[in-house]
C-alpha cells in the first residue's frame, strides 16, 4: 500500500487568492492512501522543498503529489526533492492548480472544487506509480547549424571556439545572409560588410567548422545527443576544388537576364554567378533553370573560358549523412510579399521600393553603385517618403500582428544617411509610433529629427499613386488632425519581416514547434529563450522572433553556450517513461512496430512460461535507449501487452475515474 503525501502550494497569492488551499488539503487528506497533507506559501522554495523532504522521512512516504504550478515548470524541482529524501523521483505527480485552475477561474468555490478534483486525479495516478530508473544515451560531439547568416555564423564560431565540430548548412551559394545585403548598420552607422566579412572568413577558415553552401537539410531522425541528418548538397556544376574564383565565367556568360536575388531583383545577373563579391565560398554556381546549356544543350561558354577546368555540367546532387548531438536553427527572415498592399502602388511603380531594396541602392556594390536614384528614370530624387509599419502591427489578415521591431531604427538610419549625403532631399516619415528601446537608439532617432531635419508625421498613409512621373501620397497627420496630400519622388516601405518560408518544413523535420506566425517556439518565453521545446534543438536569430543584429549575435552566442553545455556531456540520462511489453500478452502481430517513429521495437523468439504453458513465442521487445515514450505503440496493441511506464493504461484510467467521480 502506498503512503502518499500531498503538498498544496499557495504560490503566494497566485493560487491562494482563488483556491481555498486549506480545503484542498482537507479533501486530499481523505483520499485513500494519503497519510500526509499540508499547504505552504511557496513549495518550490528551499523551505518548501524541505517540508517535502521532512514529511517523506517522518511519514515514510512512498509517493508525493504536489498541487502547484504546471509540471512543465517545477516537476523536476520536486522530483529532485523527492530523490534527495530517498524516494524514486518518478513517485512524484503534479496537480496543476495554477495555470489550469487558479489563473483561469475567478469564483473561489468553483476553482477550489476543481483544484480538489485535480488533486484527486494526481493522487489516483501516483497510487499506481512505480519507481523508474533512467538509462543513458550517447552524445555525438558535433553540432549542426541550419542557416549561414550572422546568427548561424556566430553560433558556429562560438561552438567551434569551444572545441567542438560544427557544420553550417546554407541554402544559397554563399554564407552571409541578410546582413550581407545591408549597407550600414544602426545606431553606429558602420558598414555592414566591414563587420560581417571578417566573421565569414573566420568561419570559413576555422578548422572545426565545415560549411555546406547551396545545400539543404533533407531528413532528420534520432533525438537529442544523436540526430542523424541527411544534407542535400545541390549540384553546383562547378568543382569547388578546382575553381579559383577568377570570375571570368560570370563575365562571359551570355545569359544575363536573371533577376539578381541579392539585389532584390533591382538588376540582373548571369546564369553562372556568385551572389556578391565577398561571397564565401567564392565559387560560382550555375543556375540550371536559366543556363542556356542546361536549357538547350548548346552554349558551354563558361566551360570554354574556365582556365581551371572547374565547370562540371554532369555534377549531381549529393547526400551527406552525418550525426549530430545538437541542432541550431538559424534560418532568419525575409520581408513579406506586398501583393496584398496595392494601395502603396509597389507592384506598379518602380519608385515605390522596400527598405531592403533601398539598402541595395545605397550600397556601393549595389545596382546603382551607391547612387541614390529613382529606378524609373535613374534621376536623383528631390523628396522621399518613408512609410512605417507596412504589414506590421496589422489588424487584418493581410499583414502581421506583430511589430517587426527593426523598422523604426533602420528608417531613422536611412533618413539620416540620405539627409547626410544629399542634404537637399526632403525626407518625410509616416509612423504609427516610433519605437526606440535599446542602447543609444532613442538618441539616434532624435538626431535624425533634430540634427538632420527629417520630417516625422504621426499618421498613416492611405494611398500612393503615380501621377505625371511623381508619386502622390495621401495620408493623415494625427497630431495636427489634418489630411495630407503630398507629391514625392520616391516612397520607401518599411515592410514587415517574417520567418523564412522554409522554416515550416525544417521545423517539421525537427519536430520543433512553431507559432501561428511561423516563428519557432522557445521552450520558455523568459527562462529558456534559445531552446526549442524539443530537446537538442536550439534557436538563433530571427527564426525565433524579430530582432536586430546585436540581439541576434547575443542570442547566437547564448544558443552556442547551450549547445556546448550539451556537447560537453559524455552521455545523457534518458527518459525512463518508455514503453514496455508484457511478453505473456504479446502475440507478435507487429502493429506496434509499425507505428514506432524511432524503430525502438523489435521482435524476438522467446521462451515463455505462460501460467504453466511453456512455448516459444514471437514477442515485441522495446529498446529503451531508442524509445522516447510517445505511446503510439500502446494504442496499436490490441491486447494491452504494450504499456507506457509513467503513463500506464491504469494510471490514465485512474485519472479519468477520479475526474469523473
Amino acid at each position: 500500500m502506498q503512503r502518499i503525501g500531498v503538498f498544496v502550494c499557495h504560490c503566494g497569492t497566485n493560487i491562494a487568492a482563488t483556491v481555498d488551499v486549506a480545503r484542498v488539503v482537507e479533501a486530499a487528506a481523505k483520499e485513500p492512501g494519503v497519510v500526509h497533507a499540508e499547504d505552504y506559501q511557496y513549495m518550490c522554495s528551499e523551505a518548501g522543498q524541505l517540508k517535502i523532504r521532512e514529511a517523506i522521512k517522518e511519514k515514510n512516504l512512498t509517493g508525493i503529489v504536489v498541487c502547484s504550478c504546471s509540471p512543465r515548470m517545477h516537476e523536476n524541482t520536486f522530483r529532485q526533492a523527492a530523490e534527495r529524501a530517498g524516494i524514486n523521483p518518478y513517485m512524484v505527480e503534479i496537480a496543476n492548480i495554477r495555470e489550469h485552475c487558479s489563473w483561469i477561474h475567478k469564483d473561489i468555490e468553483e476553482a477550489t472544487e476543481k483544484a480538489v478534483i485535480l488533486a484527486r486525479a494526481a493522487i489516483a495516478k501516483v497510487t499506481l506509480n512505480a519507481p523508474l530508473q533512467s538509462g543513458t544515451s550517447r552524445v555525438v560531439k558535433r553540432a549542426l547549424v541550419i542557416g549561414g547568416g550572422i546568427a548561424g555564423i556566430q553560433t558556429a564560431l562560438d561552438i567551434a571556439d569551444a572545441g567542438y565540430e560544427v557544420d553550417i548548412v546554407e541554402k544559397t551559394p554563399s554564407i552571409g545572409g541578410r546582413m550581407s545585403q545591408l549597407d550600414k548598420t544602426f545606431p553606429t552607422l558602420d558598414c555592414s560588410a566591414c563587420i560581417l566579412t571578417p566573421k565569414m572568413v573566420e568561419a570559413a577558415a576555422h578548422d572545426k567548422i565545415t560549411i555546406y553552401t547551396y545545400s539543404e537539410v533533407e531528413k532528420v531522425s534520432g533525438f537529442v545527443g544523436d540526430f542523424q541528418v541527411d544534407i542535400r548538397k545541390k549540384a553546383r556544376s562547378v568543382d569547388m576544388s578546382k575553381c579559383t574564383g577568377c570570375g571570368v565565367c560570370q563575365e562571359k556568360c551570355p545569359s544575363k537576364k536573371t533577376p539578381n536575388e541579392f539585389n532584390r531583383g533591382l538588376n540582373t545577373r548571369s546564369a553562372i554567378y556568385t551572389p556578391f563579391a565577398q561571397a564565401i565560398p567564392n565559387v560560382p554556381v550555375i543556375d540550371r533553370e536559366n543556363c542556356i546549356k542546361f536549357k538547350t544543350g548548346k552554349c558551354g561558354v563558361c566551360s570554354k573560358v574556365c582556365q581551371a577546368g572547374a565547370i562540371d555540367y554532369e555534377q549531381k546532387d549529393e547526400i551527406v549523412t552525418q550525426n549530430y548531438g545538437a541542432i541550431v536553427v538559424a534560418t532568419g527572415f525575409d520581408t513579406i510579399k506586398l501583393d496584398k498592399f496595392d494601395e502603396y502602388s509597389y507592384s506598379t511603380s518602380p519608385d515605390v521600393i522596400t527598405s531592403l531594396e533601398l539598402e541595395r541602392i545605397m550600397n556601393a556594390a549595389g545596382p546603382t553603385k551607391g547612387h541614390l536614384e529613382r529606378m524609373s528614370d535613374h534621376k536623383p530624387p528631390k523628396s522621399m517618403v518613408f512609410i512605417q509599419c507596412v504589414g506590421s502591427r496589422c489588424a487584418d489578415k493581410r499583414g502581421k500582428s506583430y511589430c517587426s521591431k527593426i523598422c523604426c531604427m533602420y528608417t531613422a538610419k536611412h533618413a539620416m544617411l540620405i539627409r547626410d549625403k544629399y542634404p537637399d532631399v526632403e525626407v518625410t516619415v509616416f509612423y504609427i509610433d516610433v519605437r526606440t528601446p535599446g542602447k543609444n537608439f532613442d538618441e539616434f532617432y532624435r538626431r535624425a529629427v533634430e540634427e538632420y531635419g527629417v520630417n516625422y508625421i504621426k499618421g498613416q498613409v492611405g494611398k500612393v499613386a503615380e501621377k505625371g512621373g511623381k508619386l502622390l501620397v495621401q495620408g493623415v497627420d494625427l497630431i495636427d488632425n489634418k489630411r495630407i496630400l503630398m507629391e514625392t519622388d520616391m516612397v520607401v516601405l518599411a515592410t514587415a519581416i517574417e520567418p523564412n518560408p522554409d522554416v515550416r518544413k525544417i521545423a517539421t523535420m525537427l519536430t520543433a514547434s512553431i507559432d501561428t506566425n511561423n516563428f519557432l517556439t522557445e521552450s520558455h518565453a523568459k527562462l529558456r529563450p534559445v531552446e526549442s521545446p524539443t530537446a537538442g534543438i536550439f534557436l538563433s536569430g530571427v527564426c525565433q522572433g524579430p530582432k536586430d543584429i546585436p540581439e541576434t549575435v547575443a542570442q547566437a552566442g547564448a544558443a552556442a553556450v547551450k549547445v556546448v553545455g550539451l556537447l560537453a556531456k559524455d552521455h545523457l540520462v534518458t527518459n525512463p517513461c518508455t514503453a514496455k511489453s508484457d511478453e505473456l500478452l504479446c502475440n507478435g502481430c507487429s502493429s506496434c512496430e509499425k507505428v514506432c517513429p524511432y524503430g525502438a521495437i523489435s521482435y524476438e523468439e522467446k521462451e515463455v512460461n505462460d501460467h504453466g504453458i511453456r512455448e516459444t513465442r514471437r514477442v515485441a521487445v522495446v529498446n529503451s535507449a531508442l524509445c522516447q515514450g510517445c505511446g503510439a505503440c500502446t494504442v496499436a496493441c490490441p491486447s494491452g501487452a504494450m504499456d507506457l511506464q509513467g503513463f500506464s493504461n491504469r494510471q490514465i484510467l485512474a485519472e479519468v475515474d477520479a475526474i469523473c467521480r
Partner: protein, 148 residues
C-alpha cells in the same frame, strides 16, 4: 432524479492534452488569464497518440459528458508522427460512436500548439457550450456509475 433537474447542469469534461503542444497551450492560456469553464479537467499525456479509445469510453462510462483530445498540429508532433495516428484513430472512433447513435458533439479533436493559449481557451469555451446544448450524456453512461 426529479430534484436534480432543477439544479444547473454542470457537465463533466475530460480533456486529454499532449505534453508538448496542447498542455503547454493550456499553460499559456493560464498564464495569459484566458478563462474557460472549470468543468474542463485536463489529463496530461505524452502525445495524442497515447490516448486509447478505451480511455474515452471509460470517461463516458464514468459520467463524462464530453471528451476532447488536443495535440500538436499535424506536422508538428514532438514525436514526428504521433498525432497522425491519433487523427485516424479518433476519426474512426468518433464515426463509430456517431453510428451507434451517440451525439457526435460529445467528442472532439483539436490541434493546439504551445503558442495557442487563445485557441485553447476558445476551444474549451466552445466545447463546453456545445456540451451544455447537448445536456447530460445518457447514451454512453453506465447506470452503476450514476450518483443517486
Amino acid at each position: 432524479m426529479q430534484v436534480e433537474k432543477t439544479q444547473e447542469f454542470r457537465p463533466k469534461i475530460v480533456a486529454f492534452c499532449c505534453n508538448w503542444c496542447s498542455y503547454a497551450g493550456a499553460d499559456l492560456a493560464g498564464s495569459s488569464r484566458l478563462a474557460y469553464p472549470a468543468d474542463v479537467k485536463i489529463i496530461r499525456v505524452p502525445c495524442s497518440c497515447r490516448v486509447n479509445p478505451m480511455f474515452i469510453l471509460r470517461a463516458f462510462q464514468r459520467g463524462a459528458d464530453g471528451v476532447i483530445l488536443c495535440g500538436c498540429h499535424p506536422g508538428d508532433c514532438h514525436y514526428t508522427t504521433g498525432n497522425y495516428y491519433a487523427r485516424r484513430r479518433m476519426t474512426l472512433l468518433f464515426s463509430m460512436l456517431d453510428y451507434l447513435g451517440v451525439e457526435n458533439g460529445r467528442t472532439r479533436v483539436e490541434w493546439v500548439s504551445a503558442a495557442e493559449g487563445v485557441k485553447f481557451s476558445t476551444t474549451m469555451n466552445e466545447f463546453v457550450a456545445k456540451i451544455h446544448s447537448l445536456g447530460e450524456n445518457v447514451r454512453l453512461g453506465d447506470l452503476r456509475c450514476k450518483k443517486d
